[in-house]
Symmetry: C2
Subunit: 364 residues, 2 copies
Amino acid sequence: MEITKPTLVVDLKIAEQNIKRMAEKFTQKGIQFRPHFKTHQSHFIGELYRKFGITKCTVSSVGMASYFAKNEWTDITIAFPANLLEIKEMNALAEQIQLQILVDSLEKVKILSEGISPKISLFIEIDTGYFRSGILWEELTQIEEVIRAIEAVPQFAFVGFLSHTGNTYSQPKVEDVLSLFDTSRRKMLDLKHYFIRDYQNLILSLGDTPAASLAIEFDGVDEMRPGNFVFYDVMQYLLGACKVENIAVAVYCPVVAKYPKRNQIVIYGGGVHLSKEKLKWKGKDIFGLVSIPDEQGFGRLISGAYVESLSQEHGLINMPSTEIDQINLGDLLAIYPIHSCMTVDLNIEMLSLDGSVISKYRTY
Amino acid sequence: MEITKPTLVVDLKIAEQNIKRMAEKFTQKGIQFRPHFKTHQSHFIGELYRKFGITKCTVSSVGMASYFAKNEWTDITIAFPANLLEIKEMNALAEQIQLQILVDSLEKVKILSEGISPKISLFIEIDTGYFRSGILWEELTQIEEVIRAIEAVPQFAFVGFLSHTGNTYSQPKVEDVLSLFDTSRRKMLDLKHYFIRDYQNLILSLGDTPAASLAIEFDGVDEMRPGNFVFYDVMQYLLGACKVENIAVAVYCPVVAKYPKRNQIVIYGGGVHLSKEKLKWKGKDIFGLVSIPDEQGFGRLISGAYVESLSQEHGLINMPSTEIDQINLGDLLAIYPIHSCMTVDLNIEMLSLDGSVISKYRTY
């Protein structure tokens, strides 16, 4: 594998282990596993899921749903507030596949009912306290109005309640993730109990990677939709949701300058390759962790080394003085991304460790 | 122009005015203007520069240099530490065009001299205090050694000293930008004075958008390489380097949810469309400013509205209560990006206001 410029590399063996672990966890619990494919956006990675019996997926846009529908995924949830400007595309999709979309207002149900003709399933998106999108879990009257509006439309089927507890990502500790997920799950469960008598088939769909990785108690949850876990990243590692050896993607970057006096190395690899996503680590902003790749894979993490700033194409690495001598101009370093969803999206191509190109949605 | 999902729109009239203003400024001062094309990465935008007599450009990667070389740009500087893994590509380019590359160590000059055969020009990159890449301006002995090493290689020509005062971007006020640029310019000028007797043709190449926009005094500077000014952005606007009406790019994003009780709107438009670049504004992190586009262009900025957070595809807008009623589901909002270089890079296509597709490097 000859790499000459910043290149996203996937360790498929690790990705497959991550999928296996998560698929087995939810199968054992009798919970439907509908993984989010926005992290990899790749038909090829999608195939790895089929090995474990997964046939349903989640995506974050109509375009991504169309890409996976073309690749024989026949049951897809677009876990994003339905975009009224893409009704034509949603109609085309709903003609072909079992499609679930999200609503959270009467107004949206009304406009969709006028534009969508094929059979389509609707989740009501519930906000359990993340305050991004969805109806607040406690607004029972509003929720009931929306259910009734959905049920009144012949081509619409009400599926249940869907929530994304995205605030687990910013929790400082494992116990905070668990406690937050549990609170959200209980709020959703109350909702289920309240409505189940009238809508006996309603399901609860939850799913964020930190909780899916760490939680044990999923009582009442019918479906989980984590996505990030397929590759994991530094954010999940530092949060405790994975080990460093579970991280399945890294950006290989050439070393283009060395400044031993200030313990810094410049790589060809900037915000356009890694994304400007950062997090606090030991009081500092970091944009990635660093390892030296070898024949087998990403290699060992260099203790104490981190990406301290990113320009468009430059990455500035802080490298401990004990390590800097072994790094030469023209070497490749593997940078573990802070947030793999963002990094993978940026890179038009991915390579596997054996150098094969893995195609993605945006190149499709 | 029918837009149904997040779309990068360019106001070509504004971009052309930005180019005209900057070209005239440097022409009047007798300074060579070699604009950085990493901001737009588009042959089509490159053509706008030719109207004002510009025939030389700057890029940030070998790939981008090849793209512009194919589009008849015959004099290109790659303003990035030369990447030893792309010597083959640099050779191919140097066979075709007048190519300038950057070095900042004896080691790099040595390795390049063994691999590069066509005539090529080398700048020594100087660090005047940004501490990213380059030899520190005060390291006269080291600089002289590198010049001698370059001069000893028959196919190499030493052009002069190049610096990027990237720390102007993070200055709080116009006077800080001016003072920082002036300090850097004087350091470079000292270097020029020191070496000019032995190397009479050496030039000084500087250029960052804040200083290029705001400074008046360029004594001793032979070449300027700003890039961002072609589109500008919220960062430059808040820094005082441009007016809001000089911003030439915005991402048009559909409104997908409204939460009037908490003065928030959700748009389809996230980190993958805008980039996670943020800045502090009135004590808050912001990821973009917001306007309502009309037939003529991006329209008026909504006072007090800003993008307060971004997920992969969601943007959460804080919208003053006095403004939220006029915004409906399915409307398009124009989001002015924090840093146009990053946002433009993310978007595979750009549209002009009349709906024509403007092709870019990554789609080439």
